[in-house]
């Protein structure tokens, strides 16, 4: 996780898969749709950033999915 967003359990997501399932949506298009930068989409997809609840809900809305279908906690062994 990046500085400022303390977390011991990384938040993984299905954004990359969902983008391709939604007409191969580009990172730029998703960024514009939810009002963030393309760099943040890249950080989200590589699990380097845990989004706020508001952003998570916006992203889920773009894909017409529930938040827990897009984001999930990585299970530690």
């Amino acid at each position: 996780m990046i500085a400022g967003i303390p977390s011991t359990e990384p938040i993984d997501n299905q954004i990359r898969r969902l983008r391709f399932e939604h007409g191969e949506m580009t990172q730029e298009a998703l960024a514009k749709a939810v009002g963030i930068t393309r760099q943040t989409v890249i950080a989200l997809e590589s699990s380097r950033y845990a989004p706020s609840l508001e952003l998570a809900m916006k992203i889920a809305e773009v894909f017409s999915a529930r938040v827990d279908e897009v984001f999930y906690r990585r299970k530690s062994d």
Binding site: G35, I36, T40, E45
Partner: protein, 205 residues
């Protein structure tokens, strides 16, 4: 991270060298510094456009942090050496006190800002999180530096304080604010660098 620290130290060294008398051109050090900032901005704009093709160019907030760090490092290096040079404590309204050169470099920084300005630039919650963390570090650095100066002013022997005129104290305070800002910008860029470690893995094809 190496790149952030290299650029930071490089521009600090350039500012210090200009204040120390190194100037390869027959113009004032301020013009050399200001022109360097503008040329660096043009080079950065070209470099970031090249990286845009592969999708790993920095966002607007990161670009702004680069510009601020480079400009502040150059002026910090310059002012730091001017303040340490014997004789600088004598405030003069005319003559070469370094003030003209510092403000010329600042003007160069403004032009560099214009070169890199993007009217469509946006920042988001990730930028704000990184910025907030960097501001905490910058604030802690400023308080620490002020404490050091306070102790120096209060406890140093009288003969060592002879140089500390009002002018020098005022400029030292200004210098400490710039150093704290420099630490803040460096921390911000290190935050982005940490975040970008896996950039290639997540980038668009």
């Amino acid at each position: 991270m190496v790149r952030v620290l290299s650029v930071l130290l490089g521009f600090l060294a350039l500012g210090a060298a200009l204040a120390g008398g190194w100037n390869p051109l027959p113009i004032r050090a301020g013009y050399v510094g200001g022109a360097t900032l503008v040329l660096a901005a043009l080079a950065a704009r070209w470099y970031w456009r090249e990286r845009q093709v592969s999708g790993d160019d920095p966002g607007a907030a990161e670009r702004h942090a680069w510009l601020c760090m480079v400009g502040t490092a150059l002026i910090c290096g310059f002012v730091g050496v001017v303040l340490m040079t014997p004789g600088s404590e004598i405030h003069r309204s005319v003559g070469d006190t370094g003030g003209v050169d510092s403000w010329t470099m600042f003007a160069g920084g403004l032009i560099a800002w214009g070169v890199l300005y993007d009217r469509n630039a946006v920042s988001d919650e990730r930028d704000r999180a990184i910025d907030a963390h960097a501001q905490k570090i910058g604030y802690a650095a400023l308080v620490t530096l002020l404490l050091v100066l306070l102790l120096a002013l209060g406890l140093a022997p009288k003969h060592a304080m002879a140089r500390f005129t009002h002018w020098l104290i005022a400029n030292t305070l200004l210098m400490l604010i710039m150093v704290a800002a420099l630490i803040q910008y460096a921390a911000q860029l290190l935050g982005y660098a940490r975040s970008a470690l896996q950039l290639d893995r997540g980038a668009d094809a």
